[in-house]
């Protein structure tokens, strides 16, 4: 048994998907938590400070590298899996089985993942890139804001600007819907791949997974919507 075998065997590939999947789920928890601060209705003060905390310490910076590594691993392994699995049946069925026996989204993880990736490209371009490369100030006048004499990136201001466009809001909502269905299968499936078989825990994971897949993407989707609709000041 070698390390290479571990990563290239059929189960090994799934283990990589499972581990990175759980890691990305943990990231979503942090991300949604920080972003929820916009609803504090304090003109973005709490959110900007929370976002600042997320960029100010070296620990978070290291985790960020891990996050990108996780996304890339998940992506490369996911694409490999999809391509290899499709090659296992050269002649398809005349009458497909369709939804008898499996949910459409469990069979469409590759498609949903691709939609999420497309969304991520737009999303990173909107927020992460300008923020990290210091481009915020150049793009808009609202680049920095100061609280008690200390300068903070005005990410909240950036959000207000970006989400003025209906097209952008729609893209974000579609991204969240893709994420919801991806999670609906991925959350549960990841734990199964990692070997969870005790019925008691399977039930808990199933329930948690379903709740998570609805609540988190819904919270994300409500952010652009509530800014566009002017529900927060």
């Amino acid at each position: 048994m070698t390390w290479k075998q571990l990563f290239t065997s059929s189960i090994g590939k799934k283990l990589v998907m499972g581990f990175t999947g759980v890691f990305l789920i943990l990231f979503l928890v942090v991300h949604v938590g920080v972003n929820a601060c916009i609803w504090a209705n304090d003109g973005g003060t709490m959110f900007n400070k929370a976002a600042h905390f997320m960029e100010a310490t070296v620990v978070i910076r290291i985790l960020e590298v891990g996050l990108f590594a996780g996304i890339i691993l998940h992506l490369v392994q996911g694409i490999t899996l999809e391509i290899q699995n499709r090659k296992k049946r050269s002649i398809g069925y005349h009458v497909p089985m369709g939804n008898r026996g499996s949910k459409w989204y469990s069979r469409s993880m590759g498609l949903l993942g691709t939609l999420i990736l497309l969304f991520l490209i737009v999303h990173i371009k909107h927020f992460w890139l300008p923020n990290r490369l210091g481009g915020l100030a150049n793009i808009h006048e609202i680049g920095f804001i100061s609280y008690n004499g200390k300068a903070y990136h005005n990410l909240y201001g950036e959000m207000l600007v970006v989400f003025q466009s209906l097209a952008v809001v729609i893209v974000y909502v579609l991204g969240c819907i893709s994420l919801a269905y991806h999670l609906m299968h991925g959350f549960y499936s990841a734990f199964r791949t990692l070997g969870l078989h005790n019925p008691r825990y399977v039930r808990i994971v199933h329930a948690t997974g379903t709740a998570f897949s609805i609540i988190v993407p819904l919270a994300f989707a409500m952010m652009p919507i509530s800014i566009y609709m002017g529900w927060i000041s």
Binding site: M1, Q5, L6, S9, S10, I11, G12, K13, K14, L15, L81, Q84, N85, K87, K88, R89, S90, I91, G92, Y93, H94, V95, P96, M97, G98, R100, G101, S102, K103, S106, R107, M109, H185, Y188, S189, R192, T193, L194, G195, L196, H197, P199, V202
Partner: protein, 254 residues
């Protein structure tokens, strides 16, 4: 249930051998009894084809009582047809009504090449079993069957997994042509018992290695296998297999 007869249109996959391309052929069958089994309906058709000097349809079958796993037919878009937990040989014609069109295809997976018409070569399953789906026991006088205590619940679970008849419907149903439900049943039936413990790690590694070599896909947990398995093998076994694989891979002393 009331007896009735029916006339049906059958669209059946015909393929001369592994190296030729196949096609669908349409047959009309008349006066089929609702009490016939699906295979008996094929027998009636084949008798007629032989009388007409036409080539009969080749299909696999042996026990015709749901225990050998030979009768592989993908009927109207579902392995083993419309009934839950039933093999093709145990499917009865009362599942259909007069005037129905039934499409019958062989299992589709590159790991199961078509030998002829509806017969596929499932030798890949045998080779997976040969790779590790056994326990090694010394020959000689038989050991006392009850020498090793087994917890009742574990014994029941092992027995449920052992019900797998190796029919291959799980592979046929899976969008990835994955054999994980079959392999997981064969691993679980031994892993749950104390007799299976000594070869625990090598078994799972060798069987998965062989499974990959045979060209089955990676499991993505869609659950289609469980839905069509005539023996209702649970995907819990796949999770158990994953756990065994993970711990074997991390702790094997090689």
């Amino acid at each position: 249930m009331e007896h009735y007869t029916m006339n049906l249109t059958l669209k059946v996959w015909k393929q001369k051998n592994q190296n030729t391309r196949g096609h669908f052929e349409t047959y009309q069958v008349k006066d089929i009894s609702s009490e016939m089994s699906f295979l008996e309906m094929f027998d009636v058709l084949n008798e007629r084809l032989i009388e007409e000097n036409r080539e009969p349809i080749a299909f696999d079958h042996d026990c015709r009582e749901g225990i050998c796993g030979m009768c592989s037919m993908y009927i109207n878009g579902r392995p083993h047809g419309p009934w839950h937990g039933t093999t093709t040989c145990q499917l009865h014609m009362r599942a259909f009504k007069d005037g129905d069109t039934i499409v019958v295809e062989p299992w589709r997976a590159n790991a199961f090449p078509v030998i002829k018409d509806l017969m596929v070569d499932r030798g890949a399953f045998d080779r997976i079993i040969q790779a590790g789906g056994y326990i090694s026991v010394n020959t000689g006088s038989a050991a006392d069957a009850n020498a090793i205590p087994v917890e009742k619940e574990k014994a029941d679970q092992a027995f449920t997994a052992a019900a797998c008849i190796g029919c291959g419907a799980c592979v046929a149903a899976c969008k990835n042509s994955s054999a994980m439900l079959f392999v997981s049943a064969k691993v679980a039936q031994l892993a749950l018992l104390p007799q299976g413990a000594p070869e625990k790690k090598s078994r799972v590694l060798d069987m998965i290695d062989q499974m990959d070599k045979e060209g089955f896909g990676s499991c993505t947990m869609t659950g289609a296998c469980e839905a069509v398995c005539p023996k209702e093998i649970s995907v819990d076994n796949i999770a158990r297999l994953n756990e065994q694989y993970l711990s074997a891979v991390l702790t094997i002393d090689k």
